[in-house]
Amino acid sequence: MEKKKIKILIAKPGLDGHDRGAKVVARGLRDAGFEVIYTGLHQTPEMIVNTAIQEDVDIIGLSILSGAHMTIFPEVLRLLKEKGATDIHLFGGGIIPDEDKEKLYQMGVGKLFDPGTKISEIVEYINNLFKEKVSE
């Protein structure tokens, strides 16, 4: 029996065009053995959630540098709920003030990483999330 491959969607929502970070993370996660789907710039929450469902990903990582995080994270969460896909874990990275982070954590968003985070920290975070799933 093959073990479950963890599939991750790295998405870049909204209007900001800076996807170097998202690409570096996608590449780093690939090197850590995950299957990473990257869909490019300017994704709407609907596009992100549709993709997540069709690809049956385990986890969505959003990269937001534009300041729209308080709009986009809740909307993605809402759509996941609407489509009965709350088992998909949502985390993110970008420039997000601490007080906003707190609010997002309370809504159910997973870890939000700051610029300068080491890839290994993100890998460790994901591995911890899915420890049980991998050893199944």
């Binding site: 093959e2 491959k5 090197d31 990473v36 990257y38 300017h42 993709t51 469902i53 489509k83």
Partner: protein, 317 residues
Amino acid sequence: MTIKEYLKKFEEGDERALSKIITIIENGYEESKEILEYIGKRTGKAYRIGITGPQGSGKSTLIAKLAKRLLSKFKEIGIIACDPSSPFSFGALLGDRIRMNELFLEKGIFIRSMATRGSLNGLAYKTKEVADILDAFGKEIIIIETIGVGQVEVEISNLVDTTIVVFVPESGDGIQVLKAGLTEIGDIFVVNKSDRIGADILFYELKNLIEMSYQNSKWKPPVILTQAVNNYGIEELEKEIINHYNYLIENNLLEEKRKKAVIRELVNNFENEILKILWQSERVKKLFEKVVEEVWEKKITIEEGVKKLIKEVKYVK
């Protein structure tokens, strides 16, 4: 959710159930058998199109434009996009979707990216099964995109009804076109990025080749110039796909082609199972280790070692 519940939802057209079922098959979970039994009886309705060619030739973009066009005639389209897994980390970066953004919100379009996970034929291991699942789900058209291929990955042509081979002007000159492999499997050839220098030369080289190779054939593969990003040539591509479909139907070749594929699959799976059974045998394993040492110490040749191993096969149950 149990498999029964998933299959019920699948039958109702639930995309999430479809997606979960694909995951089960892709990962070879225990429930696969039950699913494949269910799926197997419900396939054969969809028309399958394969798109192959070197990396960066524009396959994903072509598919996006083609699918968008086909939506005016068909409501349900499935797309399988293969990308390679790393042989080192076993991870993968699946990036075909980047070119297909315009399809993400189209109702009726379902896209699934698949990592090759060690498969070397240009496709992911369970591509065929996933195409069957999409077929059973009710997709009318299924488009399969290979990874970026070189010259020998021709398996796609056994999986689909119409094979489209995409080249770009940088693919090489007439000699590359004359080489075996990829240039032999196309039902339709596309020269994409045709605004670039050399497109017309490649176009005529391909035309020449086809003129020579298909003299006695009823179907002469057309060559089409496209610029996928500009939506140029897509209409002609669609037209030629329909022509090829009509050709297969009028000459009773569609069934024949599909039956051949079934035979191939049966042979492949049969052989794989035999190999699995052989390697599960402790006797074979032990003898194999012994033979390795003997060959290594130059006591026997590889051929003699093989003969020894074959003698052991008859004891395997």
